[in-house]
């Protein structure tokens, strides 16, 4: 029998959203007991890799309305305007809280918090701590969370199933990676904060842990994934590794150039107007792809690329504002940006889609909440603006934490024997997979490579029907073959091959919902850009896509977009 552990709230994921939710929960109810369950130690969470900054209105010449409109327009009018309004109002408070908790924000000479320019933002409203903002935010949150005895960490515990009873979530089944046992961790509400799923693509800024686990957990239990077709390509990743070179390089004045040294975002019409390099990410990624297709890219060992030129910024500015970029370029591209331009190409960075939630972070399943990249609260619509996502983790992590506590207070505990039985089933399933000792014929890395290839060919920067349909078919085939996956490692202790197989299973679920959602949307909006349907079609597609997992396969539905102050207009800068 699986061991049963009881808490009031169970949070899955220890990045910015999960930690913020945990702190909000114990602050809202100091008697609440919170389990923080993560497949890694919290400071390893992928928040750590975010670089450029977090957006919130801070300057006298800025306004909440301006931040809201920039976000609405950036979303190509698919963001929910009530969510956006709440977000911009809470954003300054959240970043101020983080300041009080010790985040080392970069400062102006007068001691106030400094802000920098970012893509698609009208004015300087991105708070930063050099170019290690995610790192500093994550460590500040993690260290601050240690003050609270009521936050109980379960490090390196991989949640493989939600425990559901009477239609409501009652906890999670967690596989202890070190000990190889499954435990039932029960809570009256559960918050998913596991981040995105960039690893379904071959070329991504995302770390190895970004395998869509939370999305798959919810999806398997009948909770819909929303707007999955919208995948953000960041314009500037290092060829080969996909390592992120922050948008702050352009915020600080960097130029994007082709092989002729031409600033094509200035000289040619890519829709970014006089924003040039500070246009939104979807448009700049498309521009780079078009330059390469027109033969104006450079050829390298990892394919064609463009250039990000910072040389005119000078050593002093690069060292003080962009020290990590310099370090990364030197180590991973053998280029010192003080003296030479950095080779870059668009790279999968962020999922606008995720587990469907309302403004409270509540999913359609009673007791289940989600926040951060795993969720789709509809802040980002069809294209997220750079520096909105770190703030999103705080604003909606906090809200989910508070709402989960409220829900827990009003709800009864689930049927413990039913939850225990589900955890036992899960233990038996994992035990069978582990002790299969290599019976299957499909190699994990082989399936993963095929998944990656088909996602890039069907759901890349530019899409068309036939390629998307082929990807949908390929994914169905891969899911079948997944049942014959080979696991040679029979050890109970830190069996990372078993974990990799479970992660691959999650990735396939998420990938299928993404491809099916993409293939159905016959228009171009934000990051979903089709060669065979090149314009936005508000008549037929101004809605959120919901994707449900039925027994027969993915099933699509629609959800209304919440409009408000701003009616959709042509998105031109």
């Amino acid at each position: 029998m699986a061991e049963v552990i009881r808490h009031d709230i169970v949070i899955v994921g220890g990045g910015a959203a999960g930690l913020r939710a945990a702190i909000a929960a114990v602050e809202a109810d100091p008697s609440a007991s919170v389990a923080l369950v993560s497949k890694v130690y919290p400071m390893r969470s992928h928040t750590v890799s975010a670089e450029g900054g977090a957006a919130a209105v801070a300057r006298d010449d800025d306004s909440l309305e301006s931040h809201a409109f920039d976000t609405v327009k950036g979303s190509d009018f698919l963001g929910d305007q009530d969510v956006i309004q709440y977000f911009v109002e809470e954003a300054p408070k959240e970043l101020t809280r983080l300041e009080h908790w010790g985040c080392p924000w970069s400062r102006n000479e007068d001691g106030s918090v400094a802000t920098r320019a970012f893509g698609g933002m009208t004015t300087k409203r991105t708070w930063y701590a050099t170019d290690k903002v995610g790192f500093h935010m994550l460590h500040t949150l993690f260290q601050h969370s240690m003050r609270f005895d009521r936050i109980v960490r379960y490090d390196e515990q991989f949640v493989t199933r939600l425990l559901v009873d009477g239609g409501a979530v009652r906890g999670v089944a967690a596989f202890d990676i070190r000990e190889g046992v499954v435990r039932a961790i029960l809570g009256r509400s559960v918050i998913l904060a596991t981040g995105g799923a960039g690893k379904i693509f071959p070329f991504t800024t995302n770390g190895n842990i970004k395998t869509g686990d939370g999305m798959a957990l919810a999806y398997r239990e009948g909770v819909p994934l929303k707007d999955m077709e919208f995948v953000q390509y960041h314009p500037t990743g290092l060829p080969g590794t996909g390592i992120l070179i922050t948008e702050a390089t352009r915020g600080e004045g960097g130029h994007v150039k082709n092989k002729d040294g031409e600033r094509f975002l200035v000289t040619r019409d890519y829709g970014v107007g006089n924003k040039a390099e500070l246009g939104p990410r979807d448009m700049i990624s498309r521009a780079i792809v078009q330059e390469i297709e027109a033969g104006r890219g450079l050829e390298g060992p990892y394919g064609q690329y463009a250039l990000l030129d910072l040389t005119h910024l000078g050593q002093e500015k690069i060292n003080s504002r962009l020290p990590m970029v310099r370090e990364l370029a030197k180590i991973y591209a053998n280029v010192d940006p003080v003296h030479e331009p950095i080779p870059i190409r668009p790279v999968v960075h962020y999922m606008m889609g995720g587990v469907d939630t309302d403004i409270d972070g509540a999913t359609p399943m009673p007791g289940l909440y989600a926040a951060g990249e795993v969720a789709c609260v509809s802040l980002n619509g069809a294209n997220r603006l750079g520096s909105n996502s770190l703030t999103e983790c705080l604003v909606f992590g906090a809200r989910a934490g508070i709402k989960a506590v409220e829900f827990a207070r009003g709800s009864s505990a689930g049927n413990e024997s039913s939850c225990g039985a589900q955890a036992d089933e899960e233990a038996a399933r994992l035990e069978a997979a582990r002790s299969g000792t290599g019976g299957g014929s499909e190699k994990i890395s082989g399936l993963r490579n095929e998944l990656n290839e088909t996602m890039e060919s069907g759901c890349g920067v530019y899409r068309e029907q036939a390629a998307m349909d082929a990807t949908v078919a390929k994914l169905a085939e891969l899911k079948k073959r997944m049942s014959d996956v080979r696991i040679e490692d029979s050890s109970k202790v830190f069996n990372t091959q078993l974990i990799a197989a479970l992660e691959l299973d999650n990735m396939l679920e998420v990938a299928e919902s993404l491809a099916v959602s993409a293939a159905h949307r016959r228009e171009s909006r934000g990051a979903h850009t089709r060669r065979d349907a090149t314009v936005r079609d508000d008549q037929n597609y101004l809605y959120h896509t919901l994707c449900y997992r039925d027994a027969t396969g993915p099933r699509l539905d629609k959800k209304d977009v919440t409009l408000g102050t701003w009616v959709p207009e042509e998105r031109k800068y």
């Binding site: 908790w101 007068d110 770390g207 890395s445």
Partner: protein, 267 residues
């Protein structure tokens, strides 16, 4: 363009092995690979039973610390071109081993938490009061010590940790010192009490190995040296000045900054 190297990797599965053993792999390496790339190649293509931790592959998550040819290494940052035809990879020294290249972190996490790594103030500031003012100079006092990624290479390099496992170690001291040096913090006295306890700053033998191996140039040795001075000043001051008035001030003074510059000048 590939160059085949032999990797000799420590394997240990407590379920099956009585003692750690060595296993060799021939790996076709790309010229721009880091050590981690070769380990991932082994895992994906040669032997799926090898266990190691990694995630960001960009030297910021701190997961992939190991010993490479006997020296602590952040393997995602460490170029294979630094090594010859044979590369030996073993788990981080001075830690218990869980499995293969995976070490146990429980002790480190306890030490980390013991220095109270959070802002301590007498009165909590309300959000409505806005942000604290902190000058760029005040930020510089602690910024360097806030850059630790918790990769624990310094614990592997530290001769004191090797002899005295209870020593809270370079990263934890640097972290506590980071908060002591923060102009927003009022908890220096509490942390100095921790630092005056057994197995903390005064156990350090000035070997400086921690700063030598730090992949992020945090310079924990400088933090330890400054923390020693401040812990003594704080103790001495407590006799002559009432506690509240003494709160932290001497520990954040210019003396600490000069100590830091002296240290750097001496390198």
């Amino acid at each position: 363009m590939t160059d085949t190297k032999k990797f000799v990797v420590t394997r240990f599965d407590p379920d099956a092995d009585e003692a750690p053993r060595q296993q060799s792999y021939e790996v076709p390496c790309q010229p721009d690979w880091k050590v981690l790339d070769a380990l991932n190649y082994i895992k994906d293509e040669i032997d799926g039973t090898l266990s190691h931790r990694w995630s960001c592959r960009m030297a910021v998550c701190g997961s992939c610390g190991m010993m490479v040819n006997g020296k602590p290494s952040l393997t995602c940052k460490d170029r294979l071109s630094n090594y010859g035809d044979t590369v030996e990879v073993t788990p981080l020294a001075n830690f218990p081993v869980v499995r293969d290249l995976v070490i146990e972190m429980d002790g480190f996490m306890e030490k980390f938490q013991s220095v109270k790594p959070w802002i301590i103030t007498a009165k909590e500031k309300a959000v409505e009061e806005g942000t604290n003012r902190q000058s760029p100079d005040e930020l510089d006092h602690f910024k360097q010590f806030s850059l630790c990624i918790n990769c624990m290479l310094c614990y592997s390099a530290c001769p004191v940790v090797g002899n005295e496992p209870e020593f809270i170690g370079p990263a934890a001291i640097a972290l506590g010192h980071r908060y002591n040096m923060d102009s927003r913090d009022e908890g220096a006295h509490e942390r100095n009490e921790v630092f005056r306890g057994e197995g903390t700053v005064f156990s350090c033998s000035y070997a400086n190995e921690c700063s030598e191996v730090c992949p992020k140039n945090v310079d924990p040795a400088a933090a330890v040296n400054q923390a020693k001075i401040n812990a003594v000043i704080d103790w001495a001051t407590s006799f002559v000045v009432p506690r509240q008035a003494a709160r932290g001030e001497p520990t954040r003074g210019s003396a600490s900054r000069e100590a830091s510059e002296d240290h750097r000048g001496g390198k």
